[in-house]
Amino acid sequence: MKRRQFLQTTAVGLSALVFSRAPIRAASTAGRKQPTLVVIFQRGAMDGLAAVQPLDDDNLKRLRPRLAMSRKGRQGETLLQLDGRFGLHPAMAPLAPLFAQKKLAIIHGAGLPIAVRSHFDAQDMMETATPGVKSTPTGWLNRLLAQGLGNGGPFNALALSPDLPRAFHGPQKVLAMEDLRDLARTGARGGPVEAFQALYGEAAEELLAKTGRESLEASRILANLDLEPPGGIDYPSGAPATGLNQVARLIHADRDVSLALIPSGGWDTHINQGAQRGAFSRAAGNFARSIDAFWRDLGKKHQKNVLVLTMTEFGRTVAENGTNGTDHGRGSCFFVLGRKVRGGKVYGEVPKLTEKNLEDGRDLPVTTDFREVLAGAVRDHLKIDYDETLFPNWQGRPLSYLRRS
């Protein structure tokens, strides 16, 4: 494009932007809609045994006199019935109907195949999907993009976090930003954006020119989207709700999103984890309400293209510690939510919690390699026939928790 022509185009574009708040339609890709995978990473290690508690195991009550809850409450502590074997923490009540409608499944005893109990190492190894190897340069989501996922549009891969998470490290383009409203504000600055657009439009250096144009394009698109949640959908504040809402806004505006990675926090419950009330209950309530709001927000029209997958770096000790909490353990549980999920079911194995059944005599053993869960989503939801570069040195098979039709 000649420079003059470019400037004229932007000038026209500008007046269009100034005078119209109508959403700009994305050039629609012919044929089927791009599937979206939303990964929520529960950083800090969620206690899977508090979230989804085995019902008829006295060992748990013995090892957790203050933390274990029962089916029918002493002091009003009531677990929500799932499948007869497990009860859901009451703070996660918004997820119970999704489980009953068979859209939500739980994979219990999921985690790293090797014993790593450092947050940093375990997150790292999950995000690179190379257990035991810390220095893998790329993250699994970036390698997934390299398998030909999505159309490369400005919102194809999103990390709703302040810096690029390890899972997205690598050469494929990712938009990383904690809150897209920051980018929208840049877009709304008008004068500077136009001036920068002209400068970047003319830069000879390809990477800067291309990315500069893309980021200004993204910022202008966002400046014209209403990024606030719609009325009637009660997202909680903070992460992961902010990110989930913004992903929903993009999907509703027909912007293609293939991957979104969103953090959720508050899970490192060494102190005052509590049962009905406490640190766990706060994190769990925020988490469940966020997912529920997102799902209702998507509505029938968009739910069919979206799979939500939650993961956490490890679980927590079966026994409670001296400060009404739990320490770093091994297996935890992952949630998957989608219209094609064969839900209403708890996958994986949770043995009786006797000392000999526990890993190192203390932790819920990992019975499902986390990669089986990820690979299931890649194969059956994103429909990517991945090669060996996605999960290096892994011979395992994807877990089948999605209908493949």
Partner: protein
């Protein structure tokens, strides 16, 4: 030999022979070469600095930087406000305990009854901590970020800062690791900074023994397996016979982390010719390399006794002979006999520092940082050769680099994309900014994609354009430029008086000025970053983009055109490179 002699003369006192840098042959004039030098071996020029370097001679500037002896009282004054800077690792460890530790001590002292009360009554714990003279870990982090930003922006010895940044990122440790975090500042001061113009092996050894590295890469917990003989066990046996052996080996086995990253990231490189078996054997050689439990009051006394069993202590470094696997080993083909102790790890470090793969791997990374992402093979060969011949002398490495034509070549000038840290620092320097508060800047640098010291992985920040430039953080860079120029970043002052001078320089360098008559100098040095359109001069093109200034003016009348002008320059594609 002849080369060594030349170098010696070159490095000699001022007045000795000074070969000219080969920039003229590469087609650079002296001014442009000075900019390149300040951009590569420093964090970019301050107003007036290019003139000063040209006046003193580029070679003399470099020599002064190499000596590192330029007095810098202004910097010293600024750093005095950061109390953690004067402390040793041990003092920092004692002064900045974690919250959990203060709570524990408060329980011990009876200030609170138990952990539960410590949790419920945090003010009691805080009060207790203040009385003990403790400071919070957040204050330590403030000083860590503060010294990095302050030094980079204000240090006269710019080269030292740039090199410290490079080598820290090579022997990387991270504050994301809660155990290593306390030691990151002292690591930079004790293990990295003193060696950046010294010997590679010295730096490697200092990093291997520092608590930050021992904790970050888990070697501190790596021990002989249950069945393995330990150094202490064998010593005791020798001294006392079979009777009266120390209690049985309670060790849990090796951790391979450090051994792997030592070879993959610090020395040989991933294709450097080692096997998984070598990793295991190196890990065994480093078993027992751990940190002194500095808060154990009886540690000193116990250690005096333990010396006879092969224990060694140096500062916070502790060699625990009862954790060391004393079995025979074979590492990279070399045999280590049964019964070894702390010297095994030292030998391994020497072998690795001396290995030809290390020379190639380390110098190639150096060339990528200081020349371009794809440096010419001839340069790589020359640097690797130099590294081997000088036993990893890092001063010689730098001198060789700067005397190489490739350093000044057309495809090396402005070939690198600035990291967010460098972008911020170079902008602050160009604007002659006065920094009163660290935190807002630190947050901006993080927002642009570089949480300082906060990268998780032991690779350090991938120093590549493709990593730094993504659409989200590039928009943040432009936003940073606007906020900085408009005086909207808290704790950063840009005085109007200085702004005029700063603008003159960066305008001459990056964009032509149309507002004031005396700044009509056209773009000189970044011209090649912009395409030439037929029939239009470069300055005409840029003036066209300035058409938007009018709209901006209408939108933000409180700013004058100088601020807008500065924002445009610092957010421009040309300013993102160096």
């Amino acid at each position: 030999m002849a080369f060594g002699l030349c170098l010696l003369l070159w490095l000699g006192p001022a007045g000795g022979p000074t070969p000219d840098f080969p920039y003229e042959a590469a087609g650079l004039d002296e001014r442009r070469a000075a900019v390149h030098l300040l951009d590569r071996l420093g964090y970019g020029p301050e107003p007036g600095q290019v003139d000063a370097v040209v006046a003193m001679g580029l070679e003399n500037w470099f020599r002064a930087q190499l000596s590192g002896r330029t007095a810098d009282p202004a910097l010293e004054r600024r750093l005095k406000t950061l109390p953690a800077l004067g402390m040793t690792a041990e003092e920092i460890f004692r002064t900045y305990p974690t919250r959990a530790k203060v709570a524990r001590l408060a329980v011990q002292a009876g200030v609170v009854a138990d952990q539960q009360e410590a949790q419920d009554q945090p003010q009691k714990v805080r009060e207790f901590g203040r009385e003990r003279g403790f400071r919070s870990p957040a204050e330590l982090m403030h000083d860590l970020f503060g010294q990095k930003i302050t030094r980079a922006v204000y240090a006269e010895n710019q080269m030292h800062e740039v090199l410290t940044d490079f080598w820290f990122n090579h022997f990387y440790v991270s504050i994301t690791d809660s155990r290593a975090r306390t030691f990151v500042l002292s690591y930079e001061y004790e293990a990295i900074r003193p060696h950046v113009l010294g010997s590679f092996q010295d730096m490697l050894t200092a990093s291997a023994r520092h608590p930050a590295m021992l904790l970050y890469l888990d070697n501190a917990g790596s021990s002989a397996g249950k069945e393995a003989p330990t150094t202490a066990g064998m010593m005791a046996e020798k001294r006392r016979g079979k009777r009266n052996l120390p209690r049985r080996n309670r060790n849990r086995g090796i951790n391979e982390n450090y051994a792997r990253e030592l070879m993959e990231l610090h020395t040989l490189g991933v294709d450097g010719g080692y096997t998984q078996q070598d990793i295991v054997e190196v890990a065994r050689a480093f078993t027992g390399w751990t940190t002194l439990p500095a808060d154990r009051p009886d540690a000193e006394r116990r250690l005096r006794r333990a010396r006879k069993l092969g224990f060694r202590r140096d500062g916070l470094f502790l060699f625990r002979a009862d954790m060391h696997d004393a079995g025979p080993k074979t590492i990279l083909g070399r045999k280590f006999k049964r019964g070894g102790g702390v010297e095994e790890g030292e030998k391994v470090l020497a072998m690795l520092a001396d290995h030809p793969s290390t020379a190639r791997f380390v110098t190639a990374k150096f060339a990528r940082r200081f020349v371009s992402e794809n440096p010419p093979q001839a340069l790589l060969d020359r640097l690797a050769e130099n590294f081997r011949k000088t036993d990893g002398n890092l001063k010689h490495l730098l001198v060789t680099l700067v005397n190489s034509p490739e350093f000044w070549a057309d495809d090396a000038v402005d070939a690198r994309v600035k990291s967010p840290f460098r972008l911020a620092v170079s902008a602050l320097r160009a604007m002659n900014a006065e920094i009163d508060r660290i935190r807002p800047l630190k947050q901006w640098i993080g927002k642009m994609g570089q949480p300082l010291y906060g990268f998780q992985a032991p690779t350090g920040f991938p120093d590549e354009a493709a990593f730094w430039i993504s659409s989200g953080n590039l928009a943040n860079r432009m936003d940073f430029a606007v906020q900085l120029a408009s005086g909207k970043i808290q704790g950063v002052n840009i005085r109007r008086k200085h702004l005029v001078g700063s603008l003159k320089e960066i305008t001459a360098r990056f964009l032509p000025e149309r507002d004031t008559d005396d700044l009509q100098e056209t773009l000189k040095h970044k011209a090649h970053l912009l395409p030439q359109t037929e029939g239009e001069s470069l300055s005409q093109q840029l003036l066209a983009s300035y058409g938007y200034l009018d709209e901006w003016k209408a939108a933000k009348p409180e700013l004058d055109n100088k601020h807008r002008h500065a924002a445009l320059i610092m957010g421009s594609p040309a300013f993102q490179k160096h």
